[in-house]
Every structure is written in structure tokens, then in C-alpha cells.
Amino acid sequence: MSVEAHEIIPIPQPPKDDVTIGGTARRTLSSPWASAVVIVITVLWTIPTFGLLVTSLRPSGPATNSGWWTVFTDPELTLQNYAEVLGGGEIVSGGILPYFFNSFAIAIPAAIFPLVIATMCAYALAWIPFKGATVLFFMIFALQIVPLQMALLPLLQLFNLGWSIGPVPIIPDLNLGGTYIPLWVAHTMFALPLAVFLLHNFMAQLPRDLMEAAVVDGASHFMIFRKIVLPLSVPAIASFAIFQFLWVWNDLLVALTFAGGTPDVAPITAYLANIVGSYGAKTHLITAGAFIAIVVPLIVFFALQRFFVRGLLAGSVKG
């Protein structure tokens, strides 16, 4: 029933007309009030992060012993904390940079792999007619409920010991410890349910005529997927890519389990957690490290937020 009756829902376009809900709401609430509420909430939401930024720019004494707001009466700022965290000093040996690169090396493939696999899966569920497609889709959706923590140990055993049923090895011991591969695979697995769900919702809405025309022309599914579906799905794919990149970049639990804390593979969050553990009193260094860790996701987010909204929306909006 699902695959047959698709209604075409276009990627939402803002109506050109002024008569919108928000417009009316604004009139009702009267514009200055609405603006005031928005400004108050925005300020409230931003202050904590601003406090982090200010603290990270203060010398160690004031950063540790006074509130960051005293910067307005004691405006002494320094980049020394960043120099120390980045370059490595007496206290922070080696610096944060090796971990910074690890975060990239983990997050880029761990965003792309699940994306490609989920796109293929979503396409099949939406456009390759087979019995049980709906049931399968709901089962995949339902897998969102599995708590990550449940899957950590079995996966770790798989990566390090292989898998066998009785004496018959199904997957050999691949000895993957100390590489990025377990992290890529684990993140890919954990990302699939949500990715398939979002992408399927998007793809199910693609114009049926287009697909049918292609089939009539004798195109294979592989052809349709590459030539029609992929290009049309770029917004949804991009939005999920950002979502997944942010998630992987910010992850600590999977990283701790599969990568440990060595500078060879551990990401920046693991490093940050460690310096919090060992320099509880070094507020100025912790805040600088935290800010460096935040910068990349912020850049990614600000640069690509247009896509983020458009793609996530697909499927969840009922026209």
C-alpha cells in the first residue's frame, strides 16, 4: 500500500504571499513583543557559550578565580591558552592537534558510509516493489530504540575476535584495533535506522511519473538511482550528512570504546574528557580546548544550515 500511492510533495517553498501563520501571529502578538521575546530567548541561549569563549581568552588566574563577566571590569585577554592547547606546552604535552585530525579522519567517512548505504536502502524500500517492503521499513525504523550502550560490547568482540558459530568462523579475526575502521563501521551501523527513515520519507515523495518513464525507457534500477534519484535527493542527503557529521564529531562513548585515548586514533572529545579529568583546576585550558572542539561543528553548521533544514523537513511535513 505504501509504494503505490505517493502524493507528490514538493520541497517546501516559502509562500510569496504575506498571509502566513507567522505573519498573523506577529500581528496578533504585535511586532515589538515578538521581537522582544525572540531577543530574550536568543540572548539566554547564547550567554553560556559566550561565557565559555570569554573564559578561554582570559589568563589563568582570573579564569579560575573569578566569574567570566568580570572581564568587563578587568578586560585582560590573551591567546596564550590557545597557543598552549594547540602547540602543546609543559602542561598539555603534544597538544590537541593530533586529536583534531583524528576527529576529521573519523567523521568524514563515518558520515559518508552510512549515507550511501542508507540512500540505497531507502531507494529499494521506496521504489523496488517487493513483498514486505513496508514491514521491513517499520522494522528498521523501530531499531532506533536500541540503546547504543547495548551494542558496544558485542561489536567490540566482533572487531577483535571475529565471529564464529561453534568452531566455524563466519567473520575472521580482523585485528582492527588501533585503526579507524571499527569507528567507521560502528558509527555507520548506529546511524542507519534514522538515516533510512529520513531518506525514505524523502524518496517516497519523488515524482512517480519520472520513475515510470525511466523504466519504460529500459533503465535499470542502478541507472535510475544514479541518474534520477541521487541528484534529486541532494538536499535530504546533505542534511543528513551534516547531522551525522555533527553527531560523530561530538561522540564520546563510541570513541572511548573503539578508539581508546591514544593520539593515534582518539578524537578530540576523548582528549577533552581527559583534560577535564586531569586538570580540574585549569579552567583556562579546558575552556580553550572545548572551544577548539566546538569550532568545526559550528563552521559546518553555519556554512550548510540551508541544506540541513530543507532535507530534514522532507517527509515530516504534511502539505
Partner: protein, 327 residues
Amino acid sequence: MIWDNIIAGLPKIGIALAAVAAFLGILLILFFVLGRIRGKFANPLAGIMFLGPAILLLIIGLVVPTIQTISKSFYNASGQKFIGLANYGWIFTTENNQKVLINTALWIIVAPIFSTGVGLLLALLLDKMKRESIPKSLIFMPMAISFVGASIIWGLVYAYRDPSQEQVGLLSQVVLWLGMEPPNWLLLQPWNNFLLMVIMIWIQTGFAMVVLSAAIKAIPHDVIEAATLDGARGWRLFSRVTVPMVRTTLIVVFTTILIATLKIFDIVRVMTNGNFGTQIVANEMYSQAFVQFDVGRGSALAVILFLGVIPIVSYNIVQLRKERAVR
């Protein structure tokens, strides 16, 4: 030193990009080869190729571990002795655990409602507002911050010092400025639970706002026009037209945040470690399984979480099915 580190780091990026290239390359070749096959095997083959990798990974990564966890929840700490429902008995009869269950229930009610509610309010207010992108970006920003980072940020808000000392926590200072004496925030039961939820709401509101804002913009304007002509204004318009029109989006947003809330353990782990009456199921599960090595109890707690989400996911599935049936 910094440059040395940067140069030393570049090969890591190279490895990552090479892996991506290899992965895509293999797929392309497979596509090319399988795409040539015609006849009655074409469709099944395509199905296997498209579905296979995802299903394989899901079975290995999620389905099998789930089954293992469920079975382990009936065993003792070391997983060697079958003890029936004893672990579940422990969860429901220990006084501390009852508190844990109540806290978890509070979390999954309060955090999604406030995140979605404030997000909806902002989405309404921001619609058509000039320069909406600035507040939108700033409110969304916490979404891009890791829980480790968030806990450092909020540590600077909730820090407590004796009122006679110079304050380092913003909240305490604000209360002092107002002429009152600040409490030790994280000890303040039961309100400390809500102070921790604020962090979750801070992170998730931006997500709700952005998605709902787009949904509101996507409401066809003739619907609004018709409603306005019928005399619908303000609250009536909001409750009779807007909310029903974005209902599906609301449900998806609410569910997504709710599932995230159920699984979250980082905030509690870092801010209080579950002390001071703030423990929740996900963190207790981590402590039992990974700190106290009681895999049985840890698994039973995981199963509780799992069961807790089932009704919500089922509701979503029912909604989705209805919607599809309509189409």
C-alpha cells in the same frame, strides 16, 4: 610545533579520503556490472544490492546485540548463572531505583515538551521576521556542541561558591545581584533534575525550531487565506489551523527528542554522576555494566529503556501508516 603537528596530521585525512574513495569505487563497479544484468534476475539482484549492506550491518550491529542483551538480563553479574527475573525485581523494588525510574519519567516528559514547545513558539515568532537567520543560528548553535563541551559550558553557569566568596557561577551571581542568597544548585533536590534538563532543552530547542519553522513556512498560503477569511485570528488560527497542519512534523520532532532524551546519559554522567537524586536509567545502566561489572543488571536496565521506547515508536508507526493509507 603547531606546524609540525599539522603536517603530521595530514596523512590521517588522506587515509580517510582514500577509504571513502575506495568505498565509492567498489560501489560504482558493482553498479556498473549489476546494471548490465537483464531478465528475471534483474529486480531481485538489484534488491539484494541495494538492501543487502544496510540489512547486514543492522543485523550485526543492532539486532544481534539486542537479543544478546535481552538474554543476559536474565543472568547474574558475571553472566554465568540463570536467575530469572531477579534483576528486574531489583530494579522495581530497590528504593534508589524507584527514584531512578521517576527521574527518567520526568526527563522524557519535560525535556521533549519544553524543547518542542519553545521551538514551536520561536518558529511562529521568527516566521517572516526580518533577519531571522541571526537568532535562528544562535539558538541552533548548541546542537553543534558536544555533551562534553556542554557540560563544561554549564559548569560555568551552575558553579557554586560560598556567598562570601567571589562567584564563578553565573546563576549564583545573578541571584546575588538580585539580593538573594544562591543555593548550591546541583544539590537542590528535586530542582536539580530540572537544571540538568535545561541543558538538554538548550541543545534540542534549536532542532525543534528549525524543523518546525520550515514546516510552518510550507503550509500552503491558500489554506491560511481561507481560514483568515473565515475570521480565524491569533490563538484560534494557531490551534485550529497551524498546529493541525504541522501535526506530523510536531510528532516526528517530539519523538526524535524523546528518544534522544531516553538514551542520553552524558549530561547526568558529567554534571552529577547520578548523585544528589539525579540518577536516570541510561546512566545507571552504564554504571552497572561498565563500572560495577554487573552485566545482568546493566542489561535489564537496557531492556527497560528499550521497552520504554516501544510505545512511542509504535505510535509513530501507526501515525505513519495512517498517513500513507490516506495517500
